[in-house]
Symmetry: C3
Subunit: 318 residues, 3 copies
Amino acid sequence: MISQVRPDGTLRHLITLEGLSRELIERLLERSQGFVRPLGARRPDSDSLAGFTVANLFTEPSTRTRVSFELAAKRLGADVVNLEVQLSSRVKGESMLDTVFTLQALHVDAMVIRDAEAGVTAAVAASVATHVSVLSAGEAHVSHPTQGLLDALTVRQHKERFDNLSIAIVGDIRHSRVARSDYHAFRTLGCPDLRIVAPPALMPAAEEFAGCSRHNSLRTGLKDVDVVIMLRIQKERMGQADLPDADRYFAKYGLTPERLTGARPDAIVMHPQPMNRGIEISSDVADGPQSVIRDQVRNGVAVRMAVLEEVLTGADTE
Amino acid sequence: MISQVRPDGTLRHLITLEGLSRELIERLLERSQGFVRPLGARRPDSDSLAGFTVANLFTEPSTRTRVSFELAAKRLGADVVNLEVQLSSRVKGESMLDTVFTLQALHVDAMVIRDAEAGVTAAVAASVATHVSVLSAGEAHVSHPTQGLLDALTVRQHKERFDNLSIAIVGDIRHSRVARSDYHAFRTLGCPDLRIVAPPALMPAAEEFAGCSRHNSLRTGLKDVDVVIMLRIQKERMGQADLPDADRYFAKYGLTPERLTGARPDAIVMHPQPMNRGIEISSDVADGPQSVIRDQVRNGVAVRMAVLEEVLTGADTE
Amino acid sequence: MISQVRPDGTLRHLITLEGLSRELIERLLERSQGFVRPLGARRPDSDSLAGFTVANLFTEPSTRTRVSFELAAKRLGADVVNLEVQLSSRVKGESMLDTVFTLQALHVDAMVIRDAEAGVTAAVAASVATHVSVLSAGEAHVSHPTQGLLDALTVRQHKERFDNLSIAIVGDIRHSRVARSDYHAFRTLGCPDLRIVAPPALMPAAEEFAGCSRHNSLRTGLKDVDVVIMLRIQKERMGQADLPDADRYFAKYGLTPERLTGARPDAIVMHPQPMNRGIEISSDVADGPQSVIRDQVRNGVAVRMAVLEEVLTGADTE
């Protein structure tokens, strides 16, 4: 595995949160917080990334994460190009690395990659020149590091510290890159009580999520927690294998106002979106006073600005 | 219906021209005229929208209207993102409003929406935060307000005043959002003789287009008019139901130089494009001396610059 | 055929390299060289094209050439819009020229066109207003002028002069726009020994490539050459008609380290990409010490910056 951190301690790539130091993650959160602005507030001018080029390499073009990265880069003055590519497969006979070297030769400084195939992003990072940074925008079920950071930032805005928090992640843990990146973020930040809540068929393998307590019951899983993170469940899985259909899933694992009363009164509710309202979460909760779901989106831009600035201007001073 | 106008009289949203005051429309036309420049003239620098973000939400990506809005926004210094979305349907289970709130949380200041489903744009406008503006780029058969404004601007450049004009709109009135927005623009601006000309099957319901005279004959419809606006006819409708096939349609409703002689000698000919040459209009007329069709496109950018500046910088001073 | 050059000698359009003077091509290469920068070097600020608008009209959106033009334009401060259009066919009944006039009325200053139909780009160039420039980004099998220039620039960076060079172009010459543009570039620059190497079925018509020697054997074709340009072969053609299958093609025409020893020891190897590794070229050669394939990509941006600046700022001083 290639190092994500430069000798001087700055971030060079962001493929996974696993292995990043608490100090580095806290610095990134601090830096991100500096980019947070209230809805409707005018944005301060910044051209810190003028002259840099960011390429968004997405397998599908219209995702919120793509737009979030695109706006983050533009708001710092970078040039952005969007490409719809599947790095994992061979497009027109061109291998993944030829595509990467081509982008590098076009003077792309940062490649933001969303890929359905695990390992592709790290393989790209291992291949690029030293001045190029690679950022994951979501990799298979494995990791979604900027989501992990924005979730940590959101928690940090509402809770003073991590070392006394109880956090529950609820839903399809097994297939979730969000759950894995959240896990790495919260563990590294010192969260002492991290719980995963899922039906047995959606629990991850035993060797994963070390140190988390596992709950098949939403009631015990949410008991007195400070933070509830609901995951999106693929409708296609509903009713398949050992899974209940959508109605029964909601009855057992859907977050309702009533069920939320089991958590602490000041608990916050999060969701990475898009939501299946009425399946994993009721609209009463999603739009209710404890929901910070829209804050997450806003924080996502701030985190991506901070990460882009860190990896690109860090390289600058090498 | 949400108000499109702020308490201070500035425009906040633009969903329809219906109900806008003559004073406001005239002010928008005046402001638009300030952005008109001759072909090939260098553009004056403007950064009036620097720091603002405009999102183009189109159901298809490659339309002239999308490009027109995109260039209008960029030429005033705004950041622009293009998204291909269908707000009316549920994409990946995500409701329309979740998409809208996500964009808002990404600090999008103006959403430009083209939608095939009537009512969607107004529903979005009713939901966004007070600093966000919603602009229709064409809504089903209902309205296309910037087209109405650019058509009015085009007429204004060639005719001194509206209150002595005869204007004929010809073609598929029933299904045309352009006809409806033109109708609202010209009525509000005081046009005393507004005619709609169509085969019976393409006439709108009796309660629509109040105050217009209705003509099934192109000859009487064009008689001594100052302005002829030809509409695009969907080829798919030709020969169906009560409609003639393309050849017969052209024979009866196609605008030829000969037919145009029935209008005033200084009449101008307009078309919102794309044209079906040889069906609703002959190339002789489309490319002839009375055609101002290319002016319409040029005016479209100016109108969109004016509207974007009005809604965004108006909000700024709230 | 419309003139590509203005009365003052500056380039106005770039449809083909055929007929351009040696002086003009050398000036473009000189200008391009000024935009070349090493990988990772910070880019000098330039706003020479601020206020100009470049439209990329591509039949498919995700090509390296589109990105190369887009980045070239953005790095000089131009506004860029991407449109996916097929100018050759009638889209929604709109003729090619209506699209072109619409873009012109939107104040597009340069149209970059990739088209599968021969003649379309020249037809557009013949129709636009005098302040508008048309650039080919690849036209059927006919021409790819910026590729020809970037290939010439790449050779120029490694060899002192053209008038003592032996250059071999190898592969599907018959269907290659790259081969045709390279031919025009190298002939005009004075290359005395230009060879085309192909199986008989992929040789061009006898009246084309005048002055080139023709080789069916890779061995004689590469003998003592200074430059080897390998072309992409469409896999679909393999095994069809008079063509061998992929394995046999590679055995006969694929460039391996061993075969390359027939060329001069300091020969450089080029390929326009994307490569079919193991069909027309082995990875040992593609990634080997004599390969300058990645330089070609980097030079492509520089050439497109130079050409855009030449055609747009030349127009400025008219």
